[in-house]
Symmetry: C2
Subunit: 239 residues, 2 copies
């Protein structure tokens, strides 16, 4: 860190200090790294600036405000998503996408929530096209866009819950132990069953480690099952 070398001889420009010029590319890839490590909402613009050995105002000059940096990071992450093969049946197409979606987005906490809230940007055009085409081909007709939105929204939202697991683990464990007292509640068998189930998960390390992945798969499968029902209604077997 040249900047911290104070004194009368301290260089007063990046040039004089022998530092490389700051570029938008460098800022955004630093932001991507910070997002991978801390999450999209947990790094500050000042952290980002010092990661590229610069002042906050430099980020503004090259990229823009925090929102602009975040949008650029999200674009980069979307670009990492593979597009499932075009000739897959709709269900396998979405299963493949959802699996890839999770493995990529989990690495960049906070991006999943952004995608769920603001929808896909134009950089996801190939994925939208492939998904809606697969649904059209399967017979979803005019409901294809809605079904696409439903499945992707659900996937991103469930991933976004996992994104915060580091933050809510303490809270969840507290809730889990708070629930424990109801395990033998004879008056409320439903609550007791829930408490027992939570306890079973918390006390098994393997089950605990796979909790989010398993729940995600279960959720996506139920979602696809539900959508498949719709397909049966739209194209009655009498035809």
């Amino acid at each position: 860190m040249v900047k911290s070398a104070a004194g009368p001889g301290r260089p007063r420009s990046r040039d004089a200090a022998g530092l490389p010029a700051v570029t938008p590319e460098k800022i955004i890839s630093s932001a991507l790294e910070l997002t991978a490590r801390h999450g999209l909402d947990s790094w500050t613009l000042r952290q980002l600036a010092s990661a590229v050995d610069a002042y906050p105002a430099v980020v503004y000059h090259h990229v823009g405000d925090r929102e602009a940096v975040v949008a650029a990071v999200v674009e980069r992450v979307i670009a990492m998503l593979p597009v499932p093969e075009a000739d897959l049946p709709w269900r396998e197409w979405f299963r493949a996408l959802c699996t890839d979606l999770r493995t990529v987005l989990i690495g960049y906490p906070g991006v999943a929530r952004r995608l769920a809230l603001y929808g896909a940007t134009s950089s996801a055009a190939a994925i939208v096209d492939g998904g809606v085409q697969a649904l059209k081909a399967a017979g979803f007709g005019d409901e294809a866009p809605t079904v696409y939105q439903l499945v992707l929204n659900a996937a991103c939202l469930f991933i976004s819950v996992e994104d915060e697991k580091h933050r809510n683990t303490a809270e969840k464990e507290r809730a889990g132990t708070g629930l424990a007292e109801f395990r033998d509640d004879q008056e409320r068998p439903g609550l007791a069953a829930m408490a027992a189930d939570v306890h079973r998960t918390l006390s098994d390390p393997v089950r605990c480690a796979n909790y989010y992945a398993d729940f995600y798969d279960y959720a996506i499968d139920r979602c696809l099952d539900g959508v498949a029902c719709r397909l049966a209604n739209l194209n009655p077997p009498s035809a």
Copy 2:
């Protein structure tokens, strides 16, 4: 505002100023109001303090830090939720709950997300009990707790997207108009169908106003359909 009446004769205690004592109850109900108006994440502790005519330190003294206030607000909102009738079939039970859930939570933006992330607290015990019992009675067996979690998580998450609609309306419209150019994309019929669908929604005021409510109902219904499939698998018709 007595506090703003500066000068040598200004009273130096709430008592001397004729102000009522600050109570935890008053702080929390003020926070509830601020949440209804601005959302759980959009009021500051300093705003809350001045809403009860007090210094920030007073909130700390009576309730605790921001997190403690937020937890208290969430408890109050959960307490507003009605428990569906116990003798309803599982599907109607969850349909009723999800409908009530939305009407209540929409009024307190940010609470739905908290519920999805941290799970239900013990103040929701009656609802958990009723839901799991309804599922057990329907034949979901050991999967009842998982199914309960899935449906409630999905409901809260879809509501949490709507919670931020005021914030993402601008962004969404921008994405909508950005998508418009693909409406006649012959090369990518899936993308074109999506663009046309979005345009159809945005250009119809009625459809626009009901968008979130309709999408929520569609999502919950597909979710329940998917869960119902599971029921058929667990209890094969041969029995």
